[in-house]
């Protein structure tokens, strides 16, 4: 079929560009929101997933990393190691603290005291310098480094202790704060009372049953909870989801409504301008169904142009965000694209309802009436 829809739409290219940009902005809003959420969702799990542990043992009532932190006696480590099925136990310290830079900045970081002996809870990916900090050294997140003009060799203070930056890590940005890593021994007595740790990372022996070991630890010792890494990550993600999802949902809806409005206005205007031509087609013998397909075709084409425009705008905005707000963890998943495209198609379908009603009412005889 001669593409009347495409020709009508392409006839006024300026309007098409403006409309596609409008739809593109709505698409961009949805994609950036999704990438922000997915970025956050991904980041909150990475440290735990790369910790090397099977079970995460903390003070009873601590269900995630955000609400409060756990304090447990360090010698619990020895007792946990006696539980059948446990291969080894590593104590770690993890607290949100202020660090002090030479520029007199005081960024808040989640400092992790990693276990040097077993190499657990250490940074898993570095961009520059050493991955594992030595005595008196610290590995900091790349966003933290960039925002505070820190580099390998810079000095930062935690309390009254000076650490030299030995490495810059990647994937350790949590949006509101970033991770930093020092040796467990260097944090003892600095951010927690001496002889205490926040969590114990438990690795189970080969062939042991994870659930059995988890239950045995909880049964044997009061006042502690043992979570699998998946459970603890899931708790973190659930918290993030509960905190952000309602806001994101509202913004998603706003983006969707903007998209529908732009497509609807454009298609309705284009339909009204061509009402006489739709009358001609009706007189010739086109049924309402055929005309609706033309209008829907216009809307779908506009949605497609808008989607492509949205991808381009999103790429530009993501670059600017990375430059201006590096702590915003954008994570684009390819799987999101078909869903957004489907949303754009849905926007088109909804946006054509009004023009469809108008077309259905066009009287084919009206085109004989002159003047």
């Amino acid at each position: 079929m001669v593409s009347i829809a495409a020709k009508n739409l392409l006839h006024d290219r300026t309007r098409l560009a403006v409309s596609a940009s409008g739809v593109g902005l709505a698409i961009m809003l949805v994609l950036i929101l999704a990438a922000t959420f997915d970025g956050f969702d991904r980041q909150v799990g990475l440290q735990l997933e790369n910790s090397g542990a099977d079970l995460y043992v903390g003070q009873a009532g601590i269900v995630d990393s955000f609400h409060s932190f756990s304090i447990l006696p360090l010698n619990l480590s020895v007792e946990l190691a006696t539980v059948p099925g446990v291969d080894r136990v590593c104590a770690i310290i993890q607290r949100t603290v202020e660090i002090h830079t030479a520029n007199d900045e005081h960024p808040r970081v989640v400092v992790v005291g990693y276990n040097e002996t077993h190499n657990t809870a250490a940074p898993w990916k570095v961009k520059e310098g050493a991955r594992l900090p030595g005595e008196g050294e610290i590995v900091i997140d790349e966003v933290l480094a960039r925002k505070n003009e820190l580099s390998v060799g810079s000095e930062v203070a935690i309390g009254d202790r000076i650490f030299q930056v030995a490495g810059i890590s990647e994937e350790t940005n949590l949006f509101i704060s970033q991770y930093a890593f020092v040796r467990f021994q260097d944090l003892q007595g600095l951010v927690l009372p001496p002889g205490t740790a926040t969590y114990f990372l438990v690795e189970i022996a080969e062939g042991a049953n994870l659930r059995t070991v988890q239950a045995e630890i909880e049964n044997r010792y009061g006042g502690i909870d043992a979570y699998t890494v998946d459970e603890f990550v899931s708790n973190n993600r659930e918290y993030i989801g509960q905190a952000f999802m309602p806001i994101l949902f509202v913004l998603y809806v706003i983006g969707f409504v903007i998209g529908i409005t732009v497509i609807g206005l454009t298609v309705y205007t284009a339909t009204m301008e061509r009402a006489r031509e739709y009358g001609i087609l009706k007189a010739i013998g086109a049924g309402n169904g055929r005309l609706v397909r033309i209008v829907l075709g216009q809307a779908l084409l506009l949605a497609l142009f808008g989607f492509l425009m949205g991808l381009a705008i999103t790429a530009g905005v993501a670059y600017l965000i990375g430059f201006a707000v590096p702590e915003m963890p954008l994570y684009f998943q390819l799987g999101m694209l078909p869903r957004v495209l489907a949303a754009a198609v849905a926007m088109s379908a909804i946006a054509t309802l009004l023009p469809m009603r108008r077309i259905a009412r066009i009287d084919p005889a009206q085109i004989f009436r002159r003047g």
Binding site: M1, K7, E277, I280, L281, A283, I284, G285, I367
Partner: protein
């Protein structure tokens, strides 16, 4: 074998105008023969355009029946009526009414594609039709680049695209100068002769009377005379 392609009997169309009832077409009988040109003339408001609407299935009669090749059009459902128009009628308008964003060729191929013909075949036939009307050099021109006579020939090609049984033309010469108007009227006559299409023209143009085989004069919604 009958040569009658359209027959209307007791055709009436009334409109209400406040409390008064206006009989735009009043109990008209019309028959269109294959290969004939019929011209309807009459003063403004005489009901000739309304009669054209009725015969072409663009509006429903208040009373009366219309048969096209033996099929009662007044019994066809509203949903099926567009397809009936597509199969049986070609329309030529005073204002040409071409689709502004389509080329001459695309305008001519639209009815064929609406009828289900493949785009390539429709394009080929549109090219042939336009070539036959002397527009082989204007195939890819948009309507805004065509002269009035060329536009009217494109609209005629579009009307003939599906080889209609009846070609209905509303003041087809009104926007053309006298020579072009005469050419178009002659074209209708030749088309009727060569294709067998029944042509019904509504016109005020007395200069084309001699191109018609039959002349109907209308006044006050009634056919007053036939010649």
């Amino acid at each position: 074998m009958t040569t009658q392609v359209l027959r209307a009997m007791g055709l009436t169309k009334t409109y209400s105008n406040g409390e008064a009832e206006v009989r735009a077409v009043d109990n008209v009988d019309v028959a269109l023969e294959r290969g004939e040109v019929t011209l309807i003339m009459g003063p403004s408001g005489s009901g000739k355009t309304t009669l054209l609407f009725l015969l072409g299935g663009l509006i429903r009669p208040t009373a009366g029946r219309i048969f096209v090749d033996g099929v009662d059009m007044t019994a066809v459902s509203g949903r099926a009526l567009p397809a009936t128009r597509l199969r049986n009628f070609g329309f030529v308008f005073q204002d040409f009414n071409l689709l502004a964003n389509l080329t001459a060729r695309e305008n001519a191929q639209v009815p064929m594609e609406l009828a289900g013909l493949a785009t390539s075949k429709a394009s080929h036939r549109a090219t042939e039709l336009l070539g036959g009307l002397g527009l082989q050099d204007r195939l890819e021109f948009l309507p805004e680049k065509l002269s009035g006579g060329e536009k009217q020939r494109v609209s005629i090609a579009r009307a003939l695209a599906n080889e209609p049984r009846v070609l209905l033309a509303d003041e087809p010469t009104a926007n053309l100068d006298s020579k072009l108007g005469r050419d178009v009227a002659d074209l209708f006559r030749n088309l009727a002769r060569t294709t067998g299409t029944a042509v019904l023209m509504v016109s005020h143009d007395a200069r084309i009377v001699d191109t018609a085989d039959r002349l109907l004069l209308m006044e006050d919604g009634r056919v007053q005379a036939m010649a």
